[in-house]
Symmetry: C2
């Protein structure tokens, strides 16, 4: 692994994303990604299991970040407030500088049904983890499951809003706005 790892990972991710966007995900080979990054295939496979993992690396960390924040939310927080605290913590990953990367990644995923399925699975896992986190806070079912699933709805809308926004929208604000919208929607 050694001293080149962080740089190699970043170069491979950048190269992969460029190629997926230019040629399509299916059409891109690991050989081409490695070549564009100026590295060998052998190096690629030291960093990623396959070309799909380049897109989904970080999913576990994202989930852990959100769940840890739910666990750490004040005891006085209601279930939906605890979920909001959790989702806002994702702002540490989705910062404005990351938007171009996230936009390209999303366009690649939107163009490929297999990758879309993978995203759905990721969100279903996050929903299950959020429900467990709420149960640890003493929230009972069906409120735990419903609040977690509703949290995923909020996350999707907030992420989409953050992604499409022109300026330096902060992900935390997108979450706050989506929660406010949820309150309006549910109350009506």
């Amino acid at each position: 692994m050694g001293r080149w790892q962080p740089d190699a990972t970043g170069r491979l991710q950048q190269a992969a994303l460029e190629l997926y966007a230019e040629r399509g995900y299916e059409q891109t080979t690991v050989a081409e990604i490695s070549e564009r990054a100026g590295l060998t295939e052998r190096t690629f496979f030291r960093h990623f299991a396959d070309k799909r993992e380049v897109l989904f690396r970080g999913s576990e960390e994202l989930q852990q970040l959100i769940v840890d924040a739910v666990d750490g939310a004040p005891a006085s927080a209601t279930p939906i407030e605890a979920i909001a605290v959790g989702l806002q913590a994702a702002g540490a990953i989705f910062d404005p500088d990351r938007r171009p990367h996230s936009l390209t990644r999303q366009s690649v995923i939107d163009a490929n049904p297999g990758l879309q399925e993978r995203e759905l699975i990721k969100l279903a896992r996050l929903a299950a983890a959020l429900a467990d986190a709420l149960r640890r806070r003493g929230v009972q079912d069906p409120a735990a499951g419903l609040t977690a699933e509703t949290g995923i709805a909020v996350f999707r809308v907030a992420f989409e809003h953050w992604l499409r926004h022109d300026s330096d929208q902060h992900f935390e604000d997108s979450v706050r706005e989506a929660i406010a919208e949820l309150r309006t929607v549910a109350a009506s």
Copy 2:
């Protein structure tokens, strides 16, 4: 096709579900399903494309039923009320007599990651169709998308509740209760 079609479809579905529950979905062959139903493989393939379709036949009709009901909801209904009207229409399919079938089907799906993915895709499609239905009612984004995704959360919780309930719980009531729960959750 001819006069035997409805009966053959039902016999094949029943035989497939029994075998999936007994032996596992992966381990069951079309030959075994056909044999248990007292029919030929050729007949199976006149009714179903493959053994997975036995479990997902009806998804399109379910979606259409729900979307039509949203379209037909009173103009005065708020977005979430229109979604509730739509989801309650699914009670025409999820009647108490169907519970044993639905329970077996769910246990088969819960035991198989590939089938779970298929269910996720089905619900993602339903979410997109509900958002479109709301937009046809003049609901703008992000409210349309958020209400549709929230509707899926309500659907999942209502379906799970209906499925696990001991008595003659009506699906319509499960939806009503899940919507009430959503209001509590979102308001807090």
